[in-house]
């Protein structure tokens, strides 16, 4: 009697589990469906713009032939500098919280403040850097744009670093300590290595987030119609070009905007795959 009751209850739990997993499948399909429609919209509108000249020519005026070379170069330069500035700050600050602070009030404060920074609208960050750099310097510059992007990178990287280091089993640290390993080596060689996949995800999310941001660049790096590699002057960048071109009346500009969006999306995809590949490769080596 009791056994059959248990069996029915067990079957009930099995059904519950099946339903829940079915819903999980449904959720994934919804996600993939949405992704599919967005990508289709993107390809539908942008494929015709993906001519080789998009990579070799400068942003044109309406009615002229051209590409997005200056904007692509500018975006690469500013995103690289922004990520290079922001990632170490995020990782090291996150390391302090996870490894050194022992849950002190200051650590909780930093983490809290970081969460607030996460949701700061990017336009506010842009305005802050405008006041901080553009006004004193007297002109817009790619440096200012990079700093604005870096400020957006920090909270994402910090948050994931703290979370991922928190998941590294403390036994690992203790084992390292028992061997007399200095703390900095424990953190860099043991903890970072264990948390690498997760931290890379964080950096990738940060790159993904900043590479499409228009608002923080509009008031800092401005944009540039021409080729410029001067980090101390206005620099062309894809998000602002996409924004200006997509909302213009002219069809050739609109096409270029869609082409630019495809470039950003698929560059992120490539970077993502590459980062994961590198991570797997290095973990295989050990």
């Amino acid at each position: 009697m009791a056994a059959t009751l248990d069996m029915t209850r067990y079957r009930g739990r099995q059904v519950q589990s099946r339903i829940a997993l079915g819903l999980a499948c449904a959720a994934t399909s919804v996600g993939l469906f949405v992704l599919g429609t967005i990508l289709l919209t993107l390809l539908w509108n942008g494929l015709s713009a993906l001519h080789p000249t998009i990579l070799t020519q400068m942003t044109p005026a309406p009615g002229s032939k051209g590409g997005l070379l200056n904007a692509i170069a500018g975006t690469i330069a500013m995103t690289t500098v922004g990520v290079a500035l922001g990632t170490p700050v995020g990782i090291l600050a996150g390391t302090w919280i996870a490894e050194y602070s022992r849950g002190s009030v200051l650590a909780q404060m930093v983490q809290f403040v970081n969460d607030i920074l996460l949701s700061a609208p990017s336009i506010i960050v842009g305005l802050f850097v405008y006041e901080l750099m553009v006004v004193p310097m007297g002109h817009f510059s790619a440096w200012a744009g990079s700093v604005a992007l870096a400020i957006l990178v920090v909270p994402v990287v910090l948050r994931t670093t703290v979370d991922m280091l928190g998941l590294v089993p403390s036994a690992l640290r203790e084992a390292a300590a028992a061997l007399g390993t200095p703390k900095w080596r424990t953190v860099t060689m043991v903890c970072y290595r264990a948390a690498m996949q997760g931290m890379l995800t964080g950096i990738m999310l940060a790159v993904a987030r900043v590479s499409g941001e228009t608002a923080p660049l509009l008031f800092t790096a401005l944009n540039n119609q021409f080729w410029s590699t001067n980090m101390n002057a206005p620099m062309a960048n894809l998000p602002v070009v996409i924004f200006q071109f997509a909302l213009s009346p002219y069809e050739d500009w609109q096409h270029l905007a869609w082409g630019g969006a495809i470039l950003i999306t698929f560059t992120i995809l490539t970077l993502n795959i590459l980062a994961r590949f590198l991570a797997t490769l290095s973990s295989l080596k050990q």
């Binding site: 589990s17 999980a24 949405v34 979370d163 998941l167 993904a208 996409i242």
Partner: protein, 331 residues
């Protein structure tokens, strides 16, 4: 491992450290590394301090002119220079709430699917595909929302909602009015889509850190897959999961461009979710570039400050929840 064990180990290791007296360079590196971590942690505080300072000094004029009316009044009239933040505050809270309502369960479902159900061959491509959603520039979401989601909502979803939920007493008022396709609900849904990759990739990442032994033991005593997820994995990873949710919420509240295209940009609060509205970020994106008068600019910056305060309150709330959850878990 028991408490005494780890205490002995750490005591032993610190004893060893002093006994070995780390050689010069190693000690220096340790100091440098530790020092640089705290330096950068302090830098994060400084950045926020700077942002808040510039917001406070920028918004002083608006608050001194309107006082608390600025928060509660619904007027937003650049011609007469009368500004109030009630409609954008309501819109920000409502759209973020809708985004979380849809975004969190779907992200959780995706993470569960990818860690527990998905065949290993598909795991990598599918997770990359979902993360790809995070790489699409937000203006593309906006244009997609304008040309795809809004017509879809207008022709199918909203008429259906009006005819079903709209008839329910009390609840009906949220789903009344003509189906415009744009409005608070559509904006919330677009935000949900935008935060899914953030939340789901973090969740997937932390789910995978759960020690296999824990899960195996649960399966061993007869737990179903779902029970393992819900009772073992989720509690084990709750801090990381909440972190991911916060990441998503942050993005939802701060998103500008995509929302601007589909929210309808009205500074009046309507009872219906199908009606146009306004969020703090969309107001900033719409009007900041064109504002010249000092009071107008100051009011917009004040909106930004209010968003910071809202975030502060929401995060404090989340923190309290987390502490309570920890206490229940017995830690």
């Amino acid at each position: 491992m028991t408490v005494t064990d780890s205490a002995t180990i750490s005591a032993a290791s610190s004893a060893r450290k002093t006994a070995l007296t780390l050689r010069g360079p190693q000690k220096l590196f340790d100091l440098l590394f530790g020092g640089s971590t705290i330096f950068f942690a302090a830098l994060v505080l400084l950045i926020l301090g700077g942002v808040v300072f510039s917001l406070v000094s920028g918004s002083r004029l608006a608050f001194s002119t309107f006082g608390t009316d600025f928060i509660f009044s619904q007027f937003w009239n650049p011609v007469t220079s009368k500004f109030g933040a009630r409609a954008p505050i309501y819109g920000t809270l409502m759209t973020s709430f809708i985004a979380m309502l849809f975004g969190v369960p779907i992200s959780f479902g995706i993470a569960v699917f990818l860690t527990e159900v998905c065949p290993p061959v598909l795991k990598r491509p599918l997770s990359v595909a979902i993360e790809l959603l995070a790489g699409i520039p937000s203006i593309i979401y906006g244009i997609w929302g304008l040309f795809f989601l809004a017509p879809f909502m207008q022709s199918y979803v909203e008429p259906y909602l009006t005819s079903t939920l709209g008839a329910v007493p009390g609840l009906g008022i949220l789903f009344s009015g003509p189906p415009l396709g744009i409005g608070i609900l559509t904006a919330g849904i677009i935000l949900a889509i935008m935060i899914i990759p953030f939340i789901s990739s973090i969740m997937r990442e932390v789910f995978e850190t759960v020690p296999v032994m824990l899960k195996e033991s649960a399966y061993g005593i007869g737990c179903t897959t779902w029970e393992v997820m819900w009772n073992i994995v989720l509690p084990y990873t709750r801090v990381g999961v909440i972190g991911g949710v916060m990441l998503g919420l942050g993005r939802a509240m701060g998103e500008t461009m995509a929302v601007t295209f589909v929210i309808g940009n009205s500074h009046r609060i309507a009872s219906s979710l199908l009606a146009p509205g306004q969020t703090i970020s969309s107001t900033l994106a719409n009007e900041f570039t064109e504002a010249t008068e000092d009071l107008y600019t100051s009011s917009l910056i004040a909106l930004g400050l209010i968003l910071f305060v809202i975030t502060f309150i929401v995060l404090s709330f989340a923190k309290v929840m987390l502490i309570r959850a920890n206490r229940q878990a017995g830690n």
